[in-house]
Amino acid sequence: MEVTVLFFASLREQLGTSTLSVQLSEDSNTDDLLTTVIEQLGDEADAILRDEGVKMSVNQEVKDQACPLQTGDEIAFFPPITGG
């Protein structure tokens, strides 16, 4: 299956990209996605994306734990929000 991955703010700048298309095997979850993304982006991405402050959303809903994915899902990684 194919999913779209987005990076925002400091993560986008550190990783040097704002979006990726990622191919995953069926029955993959967000942990599998993270592993695949880090393989695609290189070792530096490991520390950036596994930082404990990094937040994740699936189809624009924030997720605190790993969850299953379906083809076409939009997963975003971003730092803590600083709006207002």
Binding site: L6, F8, A9, S10, S57, Q60, A76, F78, P79, P80, I81, T82, G83, G84
Partner: protein, 156 residues
Amino acid sequence: MIDIRIQEEDFNIEDEWNACRERMSGRGGAMVAFAGLVRDFHADDEVQSLYLEHYPDMTEKSIEGIVNKAIARWSLLDVVVIHRIGQLDAREQIVLVLVGSSHRPDAFAACECIMDFLKTKAAFWKKEIRKDSESWVRSTSDDYRRSKRWMSEQLK
């Protein structure tokens, strides 16, 4: 009425205030507005401008969620949230939360609650741009404490 806008252009508080007042007609008894501004000084350093990034669609959804929770909790007649994005110079307006209600306590509380959750739940990120450097703003524990305060009060 709920009116949520994410925009690059500035807003005119007087226009928004009068439109809200008009929409409430005779039912409105209280209006509270909060406007956030770009400070020109932060962490002992001069800030020339802010860059505000957002997550299109998710930002609007997250603000709708915040406003709907406020409407479920308080008696509100009208809520306007305008949040700017892009490059904003020092002293410019960033955000407006305008709440109309029949009664003062609901308008005060809802306006503060919506603003506190915008700080921690609405998908925006701020970068401070100085003369020789720039850095992403870090969220503060105070922002999270203020948001959590509303959740614990809800349980009482």
